[in-house]
Amino acid sequence: MKKLSEFVIGEKGTIVKVGGEGRIKRRLFDMGVTPGAQVMLRKKAPLGDPLEITIRGYELTLRKAEAEFVEMEVKTW
């Protein structure tokens, strides 16, 4: 188990749990960040934050602070 915010570029995994509260969590869900979804950390912005992930076939950006709520199962292959 690892938080999405701790991923390195190119790392892949499956979402296990999405924490956080209220609006942020709701937004994450609406954008498809739900348990079971496959995620790849594509890149970090030039200043190190926010992050860009590939999820459900599209590119989503979110801050490290928001990625901290997302718990991941790392895929190793």
Binding site: V18, R23, I24, K25, R26, R27, L28, F29, D30, M31, G32, T34, P35, G36, A37, K43, K44, A45, P46, L47, G48, D49, P50, E52, R56, G57, Y58, E59, L60, T61, L62, R63, E66
Partner: protein
């Protein structure tokens, strides 16, 4: 009654392109998620009867996260369209269908339009739309909005669907809490509530809006919920529902899209992105693009060719005065002009020539000199001054829209978020701010894409500080005049003013963040759309839209205000007409006796801290008057100077850039130029940071959250007074900068200690 079809779908799903194709009308298309914020309607005429098409804002969900979501949701629930056409980007199927599953829970006919099938074919992927239709339970039609294929079929099926009633269905029917939802639904049906299934699900989700709407039912739902505990989600019902939707989509719908095994090969969009958001090159590239846009629009020396090759001016080349020379001077005079400047010059030449003819024509009919002056200066002069700027501003908007349409703007927000967060807003606020350099009005309308109310308020308030196109002539004329009088470079002053405006914006955001707009920074969870070439048709529609908007503004507010100003400045309180003939021209040499002049003199003292108040002699009122007329439209400031210079200098000067007028005024106020320049710069600062033009104030009123508008006006007044006064004082007496720094330190200290005390209180 004409049938109404609503277009609903995610941002960037091609909804507005479809709308444009169906209605052939005018709507804005962009790649920035959520650009379509206005309710747009148009007619589709290819069916047996015309159908009205309503373009709903682009949304990801029907939860009330953004105002757009609330607009769309309420439209479908309350206005009851005859059919909802749900556009689904087939290249992004899962997330798009998430919205579909929610729309289907309303009792409204739904047709799914699978858009971007051309992209699908290109990638070699295949979708079984017949099977999808069976599983989803509503008609599914493959279309390409861009290539206009499948649209007739889509509309036929939507028309068929609109003739029948459709009962809501839900993908949650077999999920763990299905019985809970159905219990709530039955309870709601008992109260004769429409769309019971939709409301039941939202109530179970504990949706803010729903809880407010049905307070009684909430209690019952809470009772029901107690009987149910999910091992994984606990009592987190909205998480459970979102999860169930996506699970259902992945299981039943996603397998119908068979992807050709492309593997990890980089797409074109990925390759572009690698460069544009590169760790090292990303920010420099952004700065270069930003500079290029302004250079293309405002560059008086395109690519610096004139400087590099020391081009000769037209006069030096021996061109005499003729229309041909004037025309040539639109493109070249000692330097090649940038496209935006050429557009301005051409339009300026066109309006001044045309309006000159009209004035001569009227004079030729033997109209009285007063009427000739009224039409020439009062009406046409004002119109021309503004019309000249329209092509240049529209050109700037074109460049910015290309960035938006290609998907780059979203990346700019991505690149800059970290930096902007330091000041207290998210990277998203950057787009409306940068648009402010073109014109505050579209920029203010664009703040609708900001979900957070505080962020929206702060962005709205600071937009005018990003000096718009109409403020450019103020900058050019005054800095040109200072340059001419003191032998310094006017260009540097202009540049410094732009920087100063941005600084005031940053400072005021930081101040608001720590005083009136406290709270967490808005979340930054945003789609980064795929890059694509800008759509020519969509851009043209957008430009036409904007041009129309400006021309409307010119012929309403600005025309009216120039007429009013003409009257006020040429008549005294006793209705005496003040103009007189000098060398065959009508000139007003007694404007200080006019109504406007006396108003100016009356309020002149309030500008004393800024250097253009009581320190100046009786001619100083022109600044007060120009500042007032600027509240109507910033273009008025320089045209007012033009009229007033004629009065104080005793004759018409009439230069295109307004420099000589300002020089004349500066020479007549009784203060030496070496002492006057700080006041002139403070005058620029005041105009840049004060209440923007009429039209922008109206836009701000429409966009500011309830109850904040009057504070926004006060904010502008206060910030302009402070910024201009500090500028004047520091530039006049350099040592006062230490006092200013000390004062700032005190203010910071007071705010932080007060905030700490407040926090302590709250934590207790």
């Amino acid at each position: 009654m004409v049938k109404r079809f609503a277009l609903a779908g995610n941002p960037n799903c091609g909804k507005t392109t479809l709308f444009n194709s169906l209605t052939g009308s005018t709507a804005h298309v962009g790649n920035w998620p959520g650009v379509t914020v206005d309710k747009r309607e148009g007619l589709y005429k290819k069916l047996s009867e015309p159908v009205s098409i309503v373009d709903l804002p682009g949304i990801y969900s029907l939860s009330p996260y953004t105002p757009e979501e609330v607009i769309s949701r309420n439209y479908i629930l309350d206005e009851k369209p005859d059919c909802v056409i749900n556009i689904v980007d087939v290249t992004n199927l899962e997330r798009n269908l998430y919205l579909t599953t929610q729309i289907m829970e309303m009792d409204v006919p739904v047709v799914v339009a699978l858009n971007m099938v051309d992209m699908l074919d290109k990638q070699g992927d295949v979708i079984d739309e017949k099977e999808l239709e069976k599983r989803i339970g509503v008609p599914v039609v493959k279309i390409s909005a861009l290539k206009s294929t499948g649209l007739d079929k889509l509309m036929e099926r939507a028309f068929e669907a609109s003739n029948q009633k459709r009962a809501s269905t839900s993908v949650l029917d077999n999920c763990e809490i299905a019985h809970l939802i159905s219990d709530v639904r039955i309870a709601l049906m008992g109260h004769d509530i429409e769309n019971p299934l939709f409301h039941a699900i939202k109530l179970v989700e504990n949706d803010e809006l729903e809880v407010q709407m049905h307070p009684n039912t909430v209690k019952m739902v809470e009772e029901f919920k107690k009987t149910y505990v999910n091992p994984l989600f606990g009592t987190d019902f909205d998480a459970l529902i979102a999860d169930a939707r996506y699970k259902y989509i992945s299981k039943h719908f996603s397998p119908l899209l068979v992807k050709k095994q492309a593997g990890d090969k980089l797409s074109k969009s990925d390759k572009i992105d690698r460069v544009l958001t590169n760790k090292w090159a990303g920010i420099p590239i952004f700065l270069v693009i930003l500079f290029s846009i302004f250079h293309l629009t405002f560059g008086e020396d395109f690519l610096y060719l004139g400087k590099i090759f020391s081009f000769a001016s037209l006069e030096e080349l021996g061109y005499g005065d003729s229309f041909g020379t004037s025309l040539l001077a639109c493109f070249y005079d000692g330097a090649v002009f940038a496209p935006g400047v050429i557009l301005f010059n051409l339009m300026d030449l066109l309006t001044s020539t045309l309006f000159g003819w009209i004035t001569d024509l009227i004079a030729g009919w033997g109209a009285s000199p007063a009427i000739v002056s009224f039409i020439g200066d009062g009406v046409l002069g004002g119109l021309g001054g503004v019309l000249s700027f329209v092509p240049q501003i529209v050109f700037l908007l074109l460049l910015l829209s290309i960035l938006e349409d290609t998907g780059y703007m979203a990346r700019v927000a991505f690149i800059l978020d970290r930096l902007f967060r330091k000041f207290g807003v998210s990277g998203r606020a950057f787009i409306p701010m940068i648009m402010g350099f073109g014109c505050s009005i579209p920029a203010m309308i664009n703040t609708r894409t900001l979900a957070d109310e505080r962020e929206k308020t702060m962005t709205l308030r600071t937009i005018p500080f990003f000096s718009c196109g109409a403020k450019l002539p103020i900058l050019a004329a005054i800095s040109g005049a200072i340059g001419a009088l003191l032998g310094s470079d006017g260009g540097i002053i202009s540049f410094a003013m732009y920087v100063l405006g941005m600084t005031v914006a940053v400072v005021s955001i930081i101040v608001m963040r720590n005083t009136t707009q406290k709270g967490d920074i808005a979340p930054f969870i945003m789609e980064l759309p795929v890059y694509h070439a800008p759509g020519f048709r969509n851009l043209m529609i957008l430009l036409w839209d904007k041009t129309k908007h400006y021309v409307e503004k010119v012929f309403t507010v600005i025309l009216l205000s120039t007429i009013v100003i003409w009257f006020l400045s040429n008549f005294s309180w006793s209705w005496e007409f003040l103009m007189q003939e000098v060398d065959g021209e009508m000139v007003n040499l007694r404007m200080n006796e006019s109504i406007l002049g006396s108003i100016g003199m009356f309020i002149q003292p309030i500008f004393t801290p800024m250097g253009f108040g009581s320190q100046l002699n009786h001619n100083g009122w022109v600044f007060a008057v120009a500042a007032i007329t600027g509240l109507i439209a910033k273009e008025n400031v320089i045209s007012t100077f033009g009229a007033l210079a004629a009065c104080v200098a005793g004759g018409l000067i009439g230069t295109e850039d307004g420099v000589s007028e300002v020089v004349a005024i500066m020479g007549s106020v009784g203060v030496a130029p070496s002492a006057l320049w700080p006041a002139m710069i403070a005058f620029i600062v005041f105009n840049m940071t004060t209440i923007p033009c009429f039209a922008a104030v109206a836009a701000a009123k429409g966009e500011t959250p309830k109850g904040k508008f009057k504070w926004t006006l006060l904010f502008w007044i206060v910030s302009s007074f402070i910024a201009a006064s500090v500028t004047y004082i520091v530039l006049s007496w350099w040592w006062t900068s230490f006092i200013v720094v000390a004062l700032i330190a005190v203010v910071i200290y007071v705010i932080t200690t007060l905030n700490k005390k407040g926090q302590l209180k709250r934590s207790k």
